[in-house]
Amino acid sequence: MKQRELLALFALGLILLGLPLAVLGYQYWLRPALSPNRIIDIAARVPEQAGFAPDAIRVAVGETVTLRFASMDVTHGVAIGPGLGVDLGPIDPGQVKEITLSFDHPGIYTYYCTTWCSPDHWRMRGTIQVSDPANPDVVPAAQPDRVIEALIAEGIDIDAAHTPPAEHADISILAFQPSAQRGELVIAGGLDVPAELRDPVWRQSHTPAQALELLTGQNPATSERDRLDAIAYLWTQDTADEALATGKRFYNQNCAACHGQSGGGDGPAAATTAEEPVAFSDPGYMFERRSDVLYAKIRRGGMGTGMPNFGTLFTPEETWALVRYLWTLTFGTPPRTHTG
């Protein structure tokens, strides 16, 4: 009897102590001991519950780390940028996704949530600081952005109010949607397009409204609709198919929740932002926008509007892809009969 009681006590101890010890021991001792590289467990919660924990990681150049992302409440998504091309996709509660990384150069990378998960979703970010082992205390400097610097040098106010200037208020662009598809036919039909408008670099730093003025000066006899369609065609020309696909993917992951899937400014989270999200499908708005200003807004964010900054998440190329996708929301898909 005494012996049996001891046996039962032992079994009880095994269950109460042995089981948690085995689980935690594997998690914190055995797995790290067996793994050839450092394992970092990152718990993802909605930002109201502190977002990623931990939200800052330090890695030395050349060191290999394994990041294990686990979602604790609702579905999150994880991608790491800029330029790493890491997208782990959605992570449902209870799911764990891992990625093993090593870095060649010092720099700062961001892991961020790619799925709208709460009104503060866009705060859900964490940083990976890759430092030089020789002097680990030096914080890697961010690369200056030439486009934004040029805009500042030009005296452009990136945060200027969204209302269009009065002199273009008479353009009847709101009466119909300019169509890139139709614009191609108009240009093929012999519309005289000024040389500047054919230049992608010029288009990048000018608004469609400015282009319309030039086009009207050259072709005073044509209908306004033809001219607008031609501009719609030209403004969607700088886009390769892959870039457009990248832009669309980034847009759906990061922008659609507020700006709406088709750019109507009517996403499900539009009501949560400080200022109403702009509608990219509205030609009246987009006719006054410059591509490089849109680029700057994406990278820097909009001051006080609720628009987050994405410069720490995307490479400049990815940001341009996104800007080009925005133009297709205004003007439709570019015709693919010929490129250039």
Binding site: T75, G94, W116, S118
Partner: protein
């Protein structure tokens, strides 16, 4: 032994045939299949609308959106599943070819009350009223006459074959 057709069987069969004919007549007054577009919005922890009523044969397109976190849509009986992220709408198109009441439920764990996030799709059988009545009445009449005739024949047979005196 040849199986000869008895009178009650003949009558029952003719009523059965009548029921079949009524059933086979093209459903003139039945609602013809229509295209139905239903917008369902998923939030924590409900679908809006929580109840959809369609007729059998309808082409149903469900425009699915999520407003707060990622949700899913799983339709019992039809067995399809779709994830939906906030901001990116999804479309599900199917023909409601099975009549009945089917639950649709959230397929992605979305929070504490996720298991209770349920709605229902009602697919009406889409049988016209007069046809249903015709089928029921002719079947009932056929059944009654069959029983009545069969009972008559049986008692006749009983009387004929009864040779043993009863006590």
């Amino acid at each position: 032994m040849t199986r000869h057709v008895t009178r009650p069987r003949l009558i029952a069969a003719s009523f059965g045939l009548l029921a079949l004919v009524i059933f086979a007549v093209p459903p003139g007054s039945a609602t013809p299949p229509v295209e139905r577009r239903v917008e369902i919005d998923a939030t924590q922890f409900e679908f809006a609308p929580g109840r959809i009523v369609v007729n059998r044969g309808d082409h149903v397109t469900i425009h699915l959106t999520a407003s707060d976190v990622v949700h899913g849509f799983y339709l019992d009986g039809y067995g399809f599943e779709q994830r939906v992220e906030p901001g990116v709408a999804q479309e599900l198109a199917f023909v409601a070819d099975r009549a009945g009441k089917f639950r649709y439920r959230c397929a992605v764990p979305c929070g504490p009350l996720h298991p209770f996030m349920i709605g229902e799709l009602v697919v009406n059988a889409n049988t016209p009223y007069w046809r249903a009545i015709g089928v029921v009445f002719s079947a009932a009449a056929g059944m009654l006459i069959f029983l009545w005739q069969a009972g008559k024949t049986e008692s006749l047979e009983e009387n004929t074959h009864e040779t043993q005196p009863r006590f």
